[in-house]
Symmetry: C2
Subunit: 430 residues, 2 copies
C-alpha cells in the first residue's frame, strides 16, 4: 500500500488542539501503517506566539496568520478547534472554498450556521466532518449519518453535557447540594466559572440541534431548541425520584413525528432506574437512539476532555484524508426546513411536588383540578410535614398545555402553598 | 441530486433476508430521498420456490440458481444472509470476482475465512461489508473501522450473545435455574433446540475473532479463541456475585499487548455492578471498548432478530452502493498474523467457591496453598453449611497458570471436598 502524506493545518492549540497534535506526532507511523496515510501537522494557527505550548516543533510550526494558513497550497486539510462563531466561520468558509476538507468540533458554529457551511462544502466537493461536535469522543455522528441512514428514527435522547451529569450524579450518589456539586465541578475543571451555558442547557441544546439535523435530515438551529436547566432541581426531587425508582438526568430529546415535524428540547427528566440512560453517571455522556427496525441503541463514553475529543477529530481527519486521496467526499444531503413543534404541542408524563395546607379535603381539591384539565394521575402520595403537607404525584401522559393550565389553577387554590417542582418523566425501557 | 438505481440480489430469504427485503420494499422512496440511491431488490435466491414467503413480488423475483444471480450483469450488489461456510463462500467469492460489492452478516464465514475474502475484495476493488456479523443491529464494525482507526485500542469486552445474556439475566433477576432459563429462551425463540453454539461460547467466539481482526488489524480466526460456556454457572454463583456487588455475564474479551500479541477469549465473568456492562440485561448486547485517547466507550442494542440485523445490513448496502457509484471502496487493510497468547499466559482476578470440611485449620490450609503459588487473596469468607463449610474468595490479579496449579493442589487437600466454581473477575470501571 502506497503511503500518501496529508499536511494538516490546525486552527487553535487549546485543550483539544494540543491533544490532537500530540496524538498525531506520536502515532503518525502507526497510523500510516494501518491506513496508508501519513498525517503531518505542518502548521498551527494561534493567537499568541509567546504563550508556552505543550506540543513540540520549532517556532516555524506556529503562525498567527490563520487566513494565510487556510489558503496555503501546501496545507491539504484544516482542523478547526478554536470554537465560537467568528472567526471560525470565516476560516472554514475560506478553507472549503479553497478545496480543503475541514474537520471541526465546533457545536456552537454548526448549531447556528451549519446548514450554510454544509452547502459550501457540498458546492466545493469536499468534506466538512464534525464527529467531535456532539458527545466528544463517542462515535455518534458517523453511525447516524452512515450506519443508520436507512433507519426511520423517531426519537433520540441524550445525556450530552458532562458537567450537569456530574452535578446530578453527585447530588444523587452523595446527597451533595446543587451549589456544592457545582463548586466541585468547577474545582475539577468540568465547569466554567460562569456555568450558565452548561447548567441552563444551552450547550446541550446546540448538540441537540446538530443531532436532529443529521438524524432527521432537518434544518434545526440552536434557537429552535426549548430548554430548561438543572438549577431548580432540588435535593428533595432527587430523593423522591430515588424512592419512586427514577434518576434525574438532564436530557436532550430530539423527536420526529409522522407529519415530519420535529421537536427538540433540553430539560431535566426523571428516567426509570432500569433505563440504560439511568446508569450513565459522573461526567460520562450517552446517546439513546430509537429506530423503527433496529430498536433501541445506546452509545456511551466520554463527552468531553482533550484526548477523547481529539480522538473523534482524528477519526474524521483520517476519513477526510481517505476521501481527499480518492477524490470523493461524504455528503450530508439537503437539510429540509420541517415544521418545529413548540413545547406546548408535546405531551409527557409529569412528576409534581406540591406543598399544601394540612387540612381535610385538600387531596380531593388538588385531584379535582387535574381532572378538570383532563390530566390523569398515575400515582399520588401525601406526607405530613411539620406545619403542612406535601403531595408528590406522577401523571399519565398529558399535554404540556393541559399541564400548564393545571398548574395555573393549582396556584390559585387557597390550600396550595407552593408547587415546588415539575419534572417530565421518561417512559420505561423494554 | 440525481438518483441512481442499485439492483440488489439477496442470497437467502430467512428471518434477516425477509426483514431486509420488507424494509427496502417499504422505504425505497424515502431512502432515495435521503441518499440519492434507489435500492431495488431485483432477485432473491432461495433453496425452495414452493415455500411460502413473507415478502412480496411475483415468482420471477425468486430463483434457485444462486450462482446465476451473483454473476448476472443486471445485479449490482449482493447481500448474503444464508449463513454457514459453504456455499456462502463460493457465492461471495464469485460475486466479488465479478466486481460486485457484497454485504454479509455471516460471522461463521468471516471468523474462519475472512482474511481470504477480504483479500479477494481488495483485489477486485469492491466492498465486502459485514456490520451485521457482530452484535446484530449495533453499529460497532463501522465505528471500529472508521471512527476509531487512529485509536490505540487495548481491550474490547462484549456481551455479544443475546441467548446467554437472557439466560443469565433470568437467573439473576428471577432466581430461575439454568435449565428453566434455557427452556424459556428456547420457547421464546432466542435459543436453538441444540443450544451448544450459544451456551458453550462458540457463537460469541466467532464474533470475538471478527472484532479482534478489525480492532487490532490482526488475523484472528475462530480456532484462536479460548472459550468456556455458561452451563456450569450455578444459582449459588449468581447469588454470591450479587452479595459481593457483581453480576455474572458471558464476555468476549479481545486484548492487545505492548508486544502486539493478541489474546481472545470467551468465558463467564463477574462484572462489578457499577460497570456499564453489568446493566446490559435480557437479550440485549453491548460492546465495551477501551482506547488510549478516547477512554471507555460502550455500544448497546439488539444483537439479534430479523429487523435489527436487517437494519445493519441496510446501512452497509447504502454505504456499498455509494462507493459503487463513486467507483471507490472501503479497505480493511492487510491483516497481520500476530502471536496469539494462550489463556495460560494471561492473568486475572478470580472468584472461587470451595466446599471444605468444617474443622479447625482448614481456612489456614487453603490460604496456604494460594500463598505457596503466589496467588494473593483479596477477600475471603467462610460460612458453615449443614455438614461442611464453604469458602468464597476473590483473589488479586493472578496468573492463569498459577491459579491452575493452586486448584490442582487444593483438590489434593483432604479437607477440600470440592471446588464448586472458578470465575474470572473484571476490574472496576472508573
Amino acid at each position: 500500500m502506497e503511503t500518501k502524506t496529508i499536511n494538516v493545518g490546525v486552527l487553535g492549540c487549546g485543550n483539544v488542539g494540543a491533544a490532537l497534535i500530540t496524538l498525531i506526532d506520536r502515532d503518525s507511523a502507526e497510523i500510516a501503517n494501518r491506513t496508508g496515510l501519513r498525517l503531518e501537522v505542518t502548521k498551527i494557527a494561534v493567537r499568541s506566539l509567546s504563550k508556552p505550548r505543550e506540543v513540540g516543533g520549532g517556532a516555524e510550526r506556529f503562525t498567527t496568520d490563520a487566513l494565510a494558513m487556510v489558503t496555503d497550497p501546501a496545507i491539504d486539510l484544516i482542523v478547526e478547534v478554536i470554537g465560537g462563531i467568528e472567526p471560525a466561520r470565516e476560516y472554514i468558509t475560506t478553507a472549503l472554498q479553497a478545496g480543503k476538507p475541514v474537520v471541526t468540533g465546533n457545536k456552537e458554529l454548526l448549531a447556528n450556521v451549519g446548514s450554510e457551511l454544509f452547502g459550501i462544502a457540498e458546492d466545493a466537493g469536499v468534506d466538512l466532518l464534525f464527529e467531535a461536535a456532539v458527545a466528544g469522543g463517542i462515535p455518534i455522528v458517523r453511525p447516524l449519518r452512515e450506519s443508520l441512514v436507512g433507519e426511520d428514527l423517531s426519537r433520540i435522547m441524550g445525556i450530552v453535557n458532562g458537567t450537569t451529569n456530574f452535578i446530578l450524579s453527585q447530588m444523587t450518589e452523595h446527597g451533595t447540594s446543587y451549589a456544592a456539586a457545582l463548586a466541585e465541578a468547577q474545582s475539577l475543571g468540568f465547569a466554567e466559572r460562569d456555568p450558565t451555558a452548561d447548567v441552563e442547557g444551552y450547550d446541550a441544546g446546540a448538540k441537540a440541534a446538530i443531532i436532529s439535523s443529521i438524524a432527521f435530515g432537518a434544518r434545526v438551529v440552536a434557537g429552535d431548541v426549548y430548554h430548561e436547566g438543572i438549577s431548580n432541581v432540588g435535593a428533595a426531587d432527587i430523593a423522591y425520584a430515588a424512592q419512586m425508582g427514577y434518576r434525574i438526568k438532564l436530557l436532550a430529546i430530539c423527536e420526529r413525528f409522522e407529519d415530519r415535524s420535529v421537536a427538540v428540547r433540553v430539560h431535566p427528566a426523571m428516567v426509570p432506574i432500569e433505563h440504560p440512560l439511568a446508569s450513565v453517571s459522573g461526567s460520562f455522556n450517552a446517546v439513546f437512539v430509537q429506530g423503527g427496525a433496529v430498536g433501541d441503541l445506546m452509545f456511551y463514553g466520554r463527552g468531553a476532555g482533550g484526548f477523547p475529543t481529539a480522538s473523534a477529530v482524528l477519526g474524521d481527519v483520517i476519513d477526510a484524508s481517505h476521501n481527499l486521496v480518492k477524490g470523493t467526499h461524504a455528503s450530508i444531503g439537503k437539510l429540509v426546513r420541517e415544521r418545529i413543534r413548540s413545547i406546548d404541542e408535546l405531551s409527557s408524563s409529569f412528576y409534581l411536588n406540591i406543598d399544601v395546607s394540612d387540612e381535610p379535603g385538600v387531596l380531593a381539591a388538588v385531584a379535582g383540578v387535574f381532572g378538570a384539565h383532563g390530566v390523569s394521575i398515575r400515582s399520588m402520595e401525601q406526607e405530613g410535614l411539620e406545619e403542612h403537607a406535601r403531595i408528590v404525584l406522577i401523571t399519565h401522559d398529558a399535554g404540556e398545555s393541559d399541564l400548564q393550565a393545571t398548574l395555573k389553577e393549582l396556584s390559585a387554590l387557597s390550600s396550595v402553598r407552593r408547587v415546588n417542582s415539575v419534572l417530565r418523566v421518561v417512559e420505561s425501557h423494554r
